[in-house]
Symmetry: C2
Subunit: 109 residues, 2 copies
């Protein structure tokens, strides 16, 4: 025991949870914000920007790439990362839909 029981939940529920998990670390939020801000691509100066070790940054980038939020292309000796616009919009829609179900104010609890 200790592992998440994904089989108990719907595909959609696991999807949303996984999307949220990708955002569930300040370093990854910082990376995404930096990439959004510097709309043109950025390489590994993220290591300087955030105060984490190169190996750690690389790991976070890997996770973000795994869920499709960012993409990277080789640029000579360094690698150029940027937001994946398509999936970014999809994420936005997913969360929008999730929270969109407007909650009835008051009258309970």
């Amino acid at each position: 025991m200790g592992a998440t029981k994904t089989d108990l939940f719907t595909r959609q529920q696991n999807d949303i949870a996984n999307m949220a998990k990708a955002l569930a670390h300040p370093a990854r939020i910082a990376i995404l914000q930096h990439l959004v801000k510097i709309n043109t691509c950025i390489c590994g100066d993220l290591v300087e920007e955030l105060g984490l070790a190169q190996a750690t940054i690389s790991q976070h980038l890997k996770e973000l790439k795994a869920v499709g939020l960012i993409q990277g292309t080789v640029e000579g000796t360094s690698i150029c990362y940027c937001i994946n616009p398509k999936n970014w919009k999809q994420y936005r829609q997913f969360f929008d839909k999730f929270f969109g179900s407007s909650v009835s104010e008051g009258n309970c609890c």
Copy 2:
């Protein structure tokens, strides 16, 4: 080592990461969806609804309550949980703002 270095990031970045963390589990997504659906309050039939043990559900409810997404009031021998409309809307706005920074299509990577 192994703990998240929250002090390296801004308050806002940590906040978003924490909000995302609250949603980063299918059981909590399922709980929230159930509470939204049954707009009137619901008690602990969540234990039946999801297939998890009572102690586990209670733990997830505690986390959701800790971040303010739900609220609960004593209802005799059972407890009535429901969405916290105010914070729900705030969450929605936060994520909307985060993803709102529209990404420039193409032209890079």
